[in-house]
Symmetry: C2
Amino acid sequence: MIAKKMKKYVEGSSVIRAMFEEGAKMAKVYGKENVFDFSLGNPSVAPPSAVKDAMIDILNEGEPSAVHGYMANAGHASVREAVAGSLNGRHGTAFGGEDVVMTVGAAGGLNVILKTLVDPGDEVVVLAPFFGEYANYIANVDGVVMVVPPNTETFQPNLAELERVVTPRTKAVITNSPNNPTGVVYSEATIREMAAILSKRQEEYGTSIYLISDEPYRELAYDGVEVPYLTKYYRNTIVGYSYSKSLSLPGERIGYLVIPKEVDDYGDVVGAAHIANRILGFVNAPSLLQLTVEKCIDTAVDVSPYDKNRKALYEALVEYGYECVKPQGAFYLFVKALGGDDAAFVAKAKQYHLLLVPGSSFGCPGYVRIAYCCDYDKIIRSLPYFKQLAGDYASDSDVCQVVVE
Amino acid sequence: MIAKKMKKYVEGSSVIRAMFEEGAKMAKVYGKENVFDFSLGNPSVAPPSAVKDAMIDILNEGEPSAVHGYMANAGHASVREAVAGSLNGRHGTAFGGEDVVMTVGAAGGLNVILKTLVDPGDEVVVLAPFFGEYANYIANVDGVVMVVPPNTETFQPNLAELERVVTPRTKAVITNSPNNPTGVVYSEATIREMAAILSKRQEEYGTSIYLISDEPYRELAYDGVEVPYLTKYYRNTIVGYSYSKSLSLPGERIGYLVIPKEVDDYGDVVGAAHIANRILGFVNAPSLLQLTVEKCIDTAVDVSPYDKNRKALYEALVEYGYECVKPQGAFYLFVKALGGDDAAFVAKAKQYHLLLVPGSSFGCPGYVRIAYCCDYDKIIRSLPYFKQLAGDYASDSDVCQVVVE
C-alpha cells in the first residue's frame, strides 16, 4: 500500500541492507578489526575543537529563544552575511548575505534548488561518475536524468558528450568537484570549456541552463591543487555546500546554497528557493548549527590524516597492479575493477573482508569506490588483502580462496 | 526560468512578505511595543533548562565523531528506543524503537510519510480548518487535496462530510489535535467515530486509509483535557510529532514519526519511510538534537504562561462581543471575523496595530487566527484595541479610525 514510486527504492534497498547486514555479521564472526569497511563516506577526522567551544559559548551566552527559535526560512541574517563574507574573502566574489540560503546539508540544498528550477519532464544533466543520490533528487521533482558518460582516462568530465547531451529542455547541470567517487578535481581548463559549452547552448536555445555546483568536498584538496570557484566562470552557477566534511558534522545537516545576483531571474530563483526550503519540510537549517558555523566560519578540519591515507593506499594499490587515477581531493579512490565486472570484483573483495562500492552505483560500471576516511592503521592492515586480491586476478584464477579466517 | 510549479508560490508569497514588511515598518514608526503581532506561532516560553544542560553534557562527554557523525537514516537507535519507551509509559502502547523514525521536525516527518504513501493522483483528506502547509506538502507528491468543510459550531471535525469525502482513491487523512488554528482538542467520541468511518470505508473499498496524526501541540493542553492517542483507536494510524513546541525548539527541526506494527504493509511503510527521509534530502534528523531529546525525553515546557494568556484573551474577547470557541490546547484562538469577511477584518485590525491571520489560510474563511504565544503583558496591552475594534463594528461604522499613533 506504499506509493508505487517508492516500491523500486524499497526493493533496491533490501540489497544494500543485505550487504550491510553481511558486513555486520562478518565483523561479529571475524572481529571488527578484521573487516575493512571502505564503503561509507563518514568522516574519520573529528570536528575541530572550535566547534564544541562555539556551541558551548552559544548555549551559555545566547538567549535560548533566539538560539533555538524560528528565523526566516533562509536562515539567520548574521549567518548568511558571515558565509557571504567568508566566500568573498577567499574567492574574490561579491556575494551578499541575501544571496545565501542556509540548508539542511547539501542534500537539502540540492533538493531545494531542484524544486526551485525543475518542472516534470525538464532535463537535468549529471556527469558520470556521479553521486547516485542525484538521480533520486531529480526524480523527486519528476525531472529527467541525462547522463554524460565518463571519460575514464582522466575522469575529468567528458565535455564532447556534454555538448551532445544538452538540449533545449536542459534546465540544469550538476557538477561535483572534488568528485565523489573519483577524488578528481576538475581543472580550470575543464571549467572554462564547460562554461563555454553551456553559454553557447543557452544562446542557441534562448534558455537558461543553471550549473549546480555541489561542493561538499571543497576543503578536502591535496598537493596544493586549486579548486576553481565556479561562479567566476559561468554566470548561471548556483553553489551547494555542506559542512559535513569541512567541519566533520555530517549528522548535523548544515549547509547552504549560494545564488549569485547575476543568475537569470535572480529574484524569482531566490524567492522560490526560500519557499522550497519551507514547503519541502526543511523549514530552515537547524538553528544552533547555523550559529555554530558562523562562529567557525573560517575553520576547517585538518585534512592531513586523509592525505596520509590517500598516499599510502594509492601507492600500494598501484604497486599491486591496480589502475587508478590519482585523486587530488575528497576521500575516495576510484579503482578499475580487476576482471572488468565491478559487481563480481566487489563480491570477491568481500572474501578478503574488503567492503567496496561498485562503480555502477555512480553510473560508471567497471570500477569500484574505496572510501579512505578511516584510521591509517586500518589502511595499512588492509594492504596485504588488497595485494592477495590482485594476486588472485594475476594468476587468472577464478577460484574463490577464502584467505581470512 | 524557475519551475512553473513554483511560480504561484512566489506570487503568493509576495503578499505575505508585503504584510510582514508592513508590520516591520509599523514597528519602526510606532515602536515595537505598540505593534501587536499575533500572526506567528513562535513559542514564547523558553526551552526548559534541561535542554541546555543535556546539550552541554553531550558536548563535554560524548565522542565528537559519534555525536556529530552519520547514523542510520531513521536516527540513533538509543533515541528511537527512548521515544518508544516514553510513549509506551504515557499511553500504554507497545511501540519498539524500530517503529520510530526521527525526522527534521513534524514538517519533515509529514513530507516523509506522504512521499512514502502517496502516488500522483492519490487523494489526501484534510479537515478544515487545517494548517495551510498540508496542501503544499500534498502537492509536493502530486497528491489531490480533499477538504472536509468545517463544523463551525464546535470545530470538532465534520464527520458526516468526512464520510462523503473519502473515496476509493483516499490514501490518507491528516488530523491535527490540539488543532492549529482553532486550539480545539478532538474528543474521544470524535476519534472513535472517525475511526469507525475510516474502518468502514477501508472495508468497503478494500483499501488502506492511513490516518496521519500531526501532533506538534500534544503537550500544550489545558484544563486537564485528555488528548487521545490515536493509534489506540484506529489501526492504520501514523503519528507525526515535533519538539518545536513541547521543548520550544522550533528552529532546531527535531521530531519523529511513529509507524506502529499493526499498520497495513508495516515493513514496506517503515522501509520506504527510511528511504524517503534519505532521498528527500533530510538524510537524518540533526544528530545533537536527537541525543538531546533522548536526555530530555519526559521533559516539557511549562505551559502555564500560555494558559494564562489564553484565559485573559479569551475572556476579554468574549466580553467585547467576539465569537470564539474556547480553545483547550495549542496557543491559538480562532475568532469569528466581525463583519464576516476575514480579509477585511484583518485589514481593519491592522489599523489598530493588531496583526492577525485570515481564516482563509486555513481553509475556513470568515474567521481569524490569533497566536497568543507571547508575553502576557502584550496580551493585556492589546486588549483596549480589540475592544475598540469590536466597537467599530458594533457602531456599524465602516469608517477607518486610526486610533493608535
